[in-house]
C-alpha cells in the first residue's frame, strides 16, 4: 500500500534511522562477542576462551564421540570413564601437571568429564523414568480429583498427562550455546530504542508543520490518519525483532556452533519441566514470534503516548517512564500472589520473557478452569489492546 510506504518513509526509511540501526546492530554484535570472551563457551568451571589448548582438545574429542543419539556403547564409555576418574580423585592423587592427563591434571579431567558429559548424559538417561513417575502421579490425581468433583485439578492433571507423555530425550549435544541464545535479551533494548526514536516525532512534527489538520480534514486521511501510523509502527517493530533474531542466531551459531537443532527443549536441564514438546529451534522461533507480538503491542502503546503527549521531551520522558515501570512489572513473572500475577499480566514486556516462563508449568485459575499462564497472558494483552484502541478512537472522535 502506498500510504503505508509513505508513512514509513516519514520516520523510518531515512538515513538517520538506518544510521542508528546499523550502529546498534554493531553494538549488539560487539556485546555478544564481549559476553563470549568474558563468560562464554563452557559454563561453570571452564570458560572456553580461557581454557588451555589441551582442555579444549579433550572437550572437542568427547563431543565428537558422544554427540548424537545415545547408545549403550556411549553410555557405558562415559560411565566407565567417570568411575575411573572418581576412584582416582577419591584417593590420593597428584595435583601436579601430568602430561598423560587430557587436561594436564587429574582433577581437571574428572571435573570436565563430570560437569559437561557425565551429568548431562545421566540427566538424559534418567529423564524418562522420572517423567513416567510424574505421569503416574497425574493419572492417580485425575482419578482422585474426579471423585472429589474438583474440575480445575482434573483439567490441570489432564493437561500434564497430555503434554508430558512420551518424553524420552536421547540426543546429546552441547547446550551452552542454546541456553545463551534462548536467554539473550540485550537486543530487546536496542529494538526499544529504535522504536522510541521513530515513534516520538510521529505526531508532534505533523502538528508543528500544520500537516495534521490537513490530513484529518481530508476525506481519505480522516479515516486512516491514526490506523496507518499504528500499522507502520507494528510493521517496524516486527521487522526489527526478526532482524535482531536472525543476527543473534547467526552470531551465537558462529561462536558456539549450535548443533542439535532437533534436540527437544526438555533435553536442557533448565527446561526439565517445560510443558512445551518442541525442539530447541522451534522454541527459538516461538520465542521470536512471541517477541514480535510483544513489540507490536509495545509499539501501539508508544504510538498512543506520542498521540496524547505532543511535546517531544515530555513524550520522551513518558516513554522511558512507561518502559521502566512495565519492565519492572514483568519482573514479577515468578510471583504467586494475585497482585504479582496481575502486574505480570498487564505488562506487554512479559511477552518478551517466554524463555523464563517456559521453564516450568505456570498456571492460572480462570472461572474455575485451568489455563496456562502464557495463553492467558496473550488473551489479557489482546483484550487490553482492544480496550486501549477503542478508548483512543472515542477520544479522537470527541476531539474532532
Amino acid at each position: 500500500m502506498k500510504i503505508l510506504y509513505f508513512e514509513l518513509r516519514k520516520e523510518f526509511i531515512r538515513k538517520s534511522f538506518f544510521f542508528m540501526m546499523i550502529i546498534l546492530v554493531i553494538i549488539n554484535f560487539f556485546w555478544l562477542e564481549w559476553d563470549y570472551h568474558t563468560n562464554g563457551g563452557f559454563t561453570e568451571d571452564y570458560v572456553k576462551v580461557n581454557a588451555s589448548e589441551k582442555e579444549n582438545k579433550y572437550y572437542e574429542e568427547l563431543h565428537q564421540y558422544l554427540d548424537g543419539k545415545l547408545n549403550a556403547e556411549k553410555v557405558s564409555y562415559v560411565s566407565e570413564e567417570y568411575q575411573r576418574y572418581h576412584n582416582l580423585v577419591s584417593g590420593d592423587y597428584s595435583t601436579e601437571y601430568d602430561s598423560s592427563m587430557h587436561t594436564g591434571y587429574a582433577f581437571g579431567d574428572y571435573s570436565l568429564l563430570t560437569v559437561h558429559f557425565y551429568n548431562p548424559i545421566k540427566y538424559l538417561i534418567t529423564y524418562k523414568e522420572l517423567n513416567d513417575g510424574l505421569l503416574e502421579k497425574a493419572e492417580e490425581n485425575i482419578r482422585f480429583f474426579s471423585d472429589k468433583n474438583n474440575k480445575y485439578e482434573v483439567e490441570k492433571n489432564s493437561f500434564i498427562l497430555e503434554h508430558y507423555k512420551n518424553r524420552n530425550p536421547l540426543y546429546f549435544y552441547e547446550t551452552g550455546g542454546w541456553k545463551h541464545l534462548l536467554s539473550y535479551d540485550k537486543s530487546d533494548l536496542f529494538i526499544l530504542v529504535l522504536l522510541i526514536v521513530g515513534i516520538i516525532p510521529t505526531f508532534s512534527k505533523e502538528k508543528k508543520n500544520a500537516m495534521e489538520i490537513i490530513q484529518i480534514t481530508s476525506a481519505y486521511g480522516r479515516k486512516l490518519y491514526i490506523p496507518i501510523k499504528l500499522i507502520a509502527h507494528i510493521f517496524v517493530a516486527v521487522w526489527l525483532e526478526l532482524l535482531f533474531g536472525i543476527i543473534n542466531y547467526v552470531v551465537i551459531h558462529m561462536q558456539y556452533g549450535l548443533s542439535g537443532t532437533k534436540m527437544m527443549l526438555y533435553s536442557i536441564n533448565e527446561y526439565r519441566y517445560t510443558p512445551l514438546n518442541i525442539s530447541v529451534i522451534e522454541f527459538y522461533l516461538l520465542e521470536v514470534l512471541s517477541k514480535c507480538i510483544g513489540f507490536a503491542i509495545i509499539a501501539v502503546i508508544l504510538t498512543m503516548i506520542a498521540r496524547l503527549i505532543k511535546n517531544t521531551y515530555a513524550a520522551f520522558i513518558a516513554m522511558i517512564g512507561y518502559t521502566s515501570v512495565f519492565l519492572y512489572f514483568s519482573g514479577f513473572n515468578s510471583g504467586i500472589t494475585f497482585v504479582e500475577n496481575v502486574l505480570t499480566l498487564i505488562s506487554p514486556f512479559s511477552l518478551l520473557k517466554l524463555g523464563e516462563l517456559a521453564t516450568s508449568l505456570k498456571e492460572i485459575k480462570f472461572c474455575g478452569h485451568f489455563m496456562t499462564f502464557h495463553s492467558f497472558l496473550y488473551g489479557v494483552q489482546a483484550t487490553l489492546i482492544v480496550i486501549l484502541l477503542c478508548t483512543m478512537l472515542v477520544i479522537e472522535k470527541r476531539g474532532k
Binding site: 538517520s16 534511522f17 542508528m20 550502529i23 553494538i27 560487539f30 556485546w31 564481549w34 568451571d45 595435583t95 591434571y105 582433577f107 581437571g108 510424574l134 502421579k137 497425574a138 490425581n141 482422585f144 480429583f145 472429589k148 468433583n149 474438583n150 480445575y152 485439578e153 492433571n157 500434564i160 535479551d185 540485550k186 533494548l189 530504542v193 522510541i196 526514536v197 521513530g198 516520538i200 516525532p201 508543528k208 519441566y273 511535546n311 517531544t312 521531551y313 515530555a314 520522551f316 520522558i317 522511558i320 521502566s324 519492565l327 519492572y328 514483568s330 519482573g331 514479577f332 513473572n333 515468578s334 510471583g335 504467586i336 500472589t337 497482585v339 504479582e340 523464563e356 516450568s360 508449568l361
Partner: protein, 559 residues
C-alpha cells in the same frame, strides 16, 4: 541575550518544570532506597549509635581499656532478653569496626555508614543524566526544527548567540549536577550524618588498601567535581549531536545510550575507568577504589584473582585531562558548526569523523479457625511436622516434600498433589476441621508462603505470601546486592510454629512472634523474646510464654 536564551529553554520549553520533577523524584528515590546498613545494625540502631556517641574519635589507650571492659561486661551478661541480645549484636558490629580501625584502619572511630553510602558505590544517577541530555538537546534543537538557525546566525550575532548557548549548557550542567548531589548529601546528613569529614579515607573498611591518603571530605569533593565534569561532558556531547544530526529524538536517545551502554558492557570492570568517557565520570567513585579480589580455582589451586584493579594516579589524570579536552573540543565543534563558519573545513571534517570515532568507543489450615475453638500448639522447632486431628495423622514427608494423611485404618492419602516439585520446602503443617495448611520456606529468602488444601475437594489455594523478589535487571543496569551474613542466617532459620485464623496468620521465627494480615499482606512483630513453650489461641487471644517463663497474651481486638 543570555536572558532570552534562558527564557527560551527553561520557560518556553518547560525545562524548569522537568528540573523540579526530576529533583523531586531524585529526593524520593534516595528516601526510598535509604542508606547503607546491615540487618543487625538496622535492628539495633539505637544501641549501635550509642556506642559511637561514647567512643567516637581517635583511639586512645583510655578508650581501648573502656571498650575492652564493655566487651567483658557484655560477654558475661547471660540474660536472654531480646534487648540484651540486640545490644550484644550492636556491640559486636561496633567492636568489628574498632578492631579494623586499631589494626589496619585510620585509628579513628566513627559511624561510616553515611560515607559508605556515598563513596562505596559506583551507581549513576540516571535522573540527572536524562535531565542533562534534555538540556543539551533543547538548547539547539528548536532553531533547527523551525529553521530559524539560518536567520539567527547572521553575521552580526552568531558568535555571541552560540557562545551564550554553550555557556548556558555548561553552566546548567554544573548547577544541575550540584543540585542533584546536594539533595543526596542533605538526605544523608539529615538521617545518618556525614561526621568527621577530616578523618582519613581508610576509616572506611572498603578503602583499607586505598593508595590515596586523602580525607573523607576530600574524597567527597573529588566525587562531586568529577560528577560535574561528567555532566559537562554529557551536555557537550548532547549539544554536539544536536548540531550534527539535527533530529532531537535521535539525539536524546543516542545521548542516553552513550551513558548506559558502557555501564552495561563493562559493568564492574576497571576498564570503564580507563576510557575517557561520560560513564566513568558520572560513576566517579571507581577512580579511587582500591584493588578488589575474589577467589577462584585455577589449575587445581585456589588462587586470589583481581576483579577490580585500582586506577593509578597517572591514568586517572590522563583520563580526566582527555575528558576536559573532549569537553573543549566538542564545544568548539558546536561553536563552529552552529555559527556556520565557512573556513572551518577542519571543523566540518572533525565534526563528522570524531563523533563516529567516539561512538565506536562504545565498546549491562482457608477455612478459618472459629474464634471459639481453642488451638494448642507445641512451640518447639519441628513440632508441626505432624498433627493428629479426629483420628487422622497428617505429616510431612521431608524426602518427597509432600504432606500425607494416614487415617485410623492406616490408609495413606497424599494431601499435597503437585506434580512439578516445589521450589520451597514444606516445614510446618496446621490442620483444622476443614483445611490442612502447609507452610513453605526458602533458604534464599526470609519470606514465608502459606497454602491450604480443602479436606473435602482437595483444592489447593494460596493463603498468604509476603511477595517474591522482582527478577528484572533492566538489561544489566540493576545489580542485586548480595545478602550480608545475618540476612543469610535469618533466611536459613526455620519457623517454629504457625496458626491460621480468620484474618491473620501467626508464626514464630527465632524468638519473635509475627502477625501477618491475610488481606493486606502486612507483617508485624507482636512479641519478642518468646520461649519455645506451648502456645494457645482462643477467642482472638494468643497465649504464649516469654523468655522469663512468664505467661503473656496478645489480644487481637485490643489493637
Amino acid at each position: 541575550m543570555i536572558r532570552s536564551e534562558l527564557y527560551k529553554v527553561f520557560i518556553k520549553q518547560h525545562l524548569i518544570l522537568f528540573l523540579f520533577v526530576f529533583l523531586f523524584l531524585n529526593a524520593a528515590y534516595h528516601i526510598v532506597t535509604g542508606y547503607d546498613t546491615t540487618t543487625v545494625i538496622r535492628n539495633s540502631e539505637s544501641y549501635y549509635t550509642s556506642f559511637f556517641d561514647k567512643y567516637e574519635g581517635k583511639i586512645t589507650t583510655e578508650k581501648t581499656t573502656q571498650i575492652k571492659e564493655e566487651y567483658k561486661k557484655l560477654e558475661k551478661d547471660t540474660v536472654n532478653m531480646l534487648s540484651n541480645k540486640l545490644e550484644k549484636q550492636a556491640f559486636e558490629s561496633f567492636y568489628h569496626v574498632y578492631l579494623y580501625e586499631s589494626d589496619s584502619g585510620s585509628g579513628y572511630l566513627t559511624d561510616t555508614r553515611g560515607w559508605e553510602s556515598i563513596l562505596c558505590h559506583d551507581n549513576i544517577n540516571y535522573l540527572l543524566a536524562v535531565f542533562v541530555v534534555l538540556l543539551g538537546v533543547m538548547l539547539f534543537s528548536v532553531e533547527y526544527e523551525n529553521e530559524m538557525n539560518i536567520m539567527i546566525v547572521s553575521t552580526c550575532g552568531r558568535n555571541r548567540l552560540t557562545g551564550c548557548k554553550i555557556f548556558i549548557g555548561i553552566a546548567g550542567a554544573i548547577i544541575s549536577a550540584s543540585l542533584f548531589q546536594i539533595v543526596h548529601i542533605m538526605y544523608l546528613v539529615s538521617t545518618i550524618g556525614l561526621h568527621h569529614a577530616d578523618y582519613p579515607l581508610n576509616t572506611i573498611e572498603f578503602y583499607e588498601n586505598s593508595r590515596y591518603g586523602i580525607s573523607l571530605g576530600t574524597a567527597l569533593l573529588f566525587k562531586f567535581i568529577v560528577t560535574i565534569l561528567g555532566c559537562m561532558l554529557l551536555v557537550s556531547f548532547a549539544m554536539l549531536m544536536t548540531v550534527l544530526l539535527k533530529r532531537r529524538e535521535i539525539c536524546m536517545v543516542l545521548a542516553v545510550l552513550l551513558v548506559i551502554l558502557p555501564r552495561m558492557i563493562f559493568s564492574n570492570s576497571s576498564i570503564l575507568y580507563r576510557i575517557p568517557w561520560i560513564t566513568p565520570l558520572l560513576s566517579a567513585n571507581g577512580f579511587f577504589w582500591p584493588d578488589r579480589y575474589t577467589h577462584q580455582i585455577i589449575d587445581n589451586q585456589l588462587k586470589k584473582v583481581i576483579v577490580f584493579q585500582a586506577i593509578e594516579t597517572k591514568t586517572m589524570l590522563i583520563v580526566l585531562s582527555m575528558d576536559i579536552f573532549l569537553i573543549v573540543l566538542s564545544s568548539y565543534i558546536v561553536f563552529g558548526k552552529f555559527s556556520n563558519h565557512r573556513k572551518s573545513k577542519y571543523i566540518k571534517m572533525t565534526s563528522k569523523i570524531l563523533p563516529c570515532l567516539l561512538i565506536c568507543f562504545c565498546l549491562t489450615g482457608c477455612g478459618e479457625i472459629s474464634e471459639d475453638k481453642e488451638v494448642i500448639i507445641d512451640g518447639t522447632l519441628n513440632a508441626q511436622i505432624n498433627m493428629t486431628i479426629g483420628g487422622n495423622m497428617y505429616y510431612i514427608d521431608q524426602n518427597e516434600n509432600l504432606v500425607y494423611c494416614e487415617d485410623a485404618k492406616n490408609n495413606i492419602i497424599a494431601i499435597t498433589r503437585n506434580i512439578i516439585p516445589l521450589q520451597q520446602r514444606i516445614t510446618n503443617i496446621f490442620v483444622d476441621a476443614h483445611y490442612c495448611y502447609y507452610l513453605l520456606e526458602d533458604d534464599n529468602s526470609s519470606n514465608i508462603i502459606v497454602r491450604s488444601v480443602d479436606l473435602e475437594s482437595f483444592e489447593d489455594k494460596l493463603v498468604y505470601s509476603a511477595g517474591s523478589d522482582n527478577t528484572e535487571d533492566f538489561y544489566g543496569l540493576r545489580k542485586d546486592e548480595s545478602n550480608d551474613a545475618d540476612e543469610i542466617l535469618k533466611n536459613i532459620a526455620t519457623v517454629n510454629w504457625f496458626i491460621v485464623t480468620d484474618k491473620v496468620i501467626y508464626y514464630q521465627k527465632n524468638s519473635a512472634i509475627y502477625k501477618c494480615s491475610k488481606i493486606s499482606g502486612k507483617q508485624e512483630i507482636i512479641a519478642e523474646a518468646v520461649s519455645d513453650d506451648e502456645v494457645q489461641y482462643l477467642k482472638g487471644v494468643l497465649h504464649y510464654t516469654d523468655a522469663h517463663g512468664k505467661k503473656t497474651s496478645y489480644n487481637e481486638s485490643a489493637k
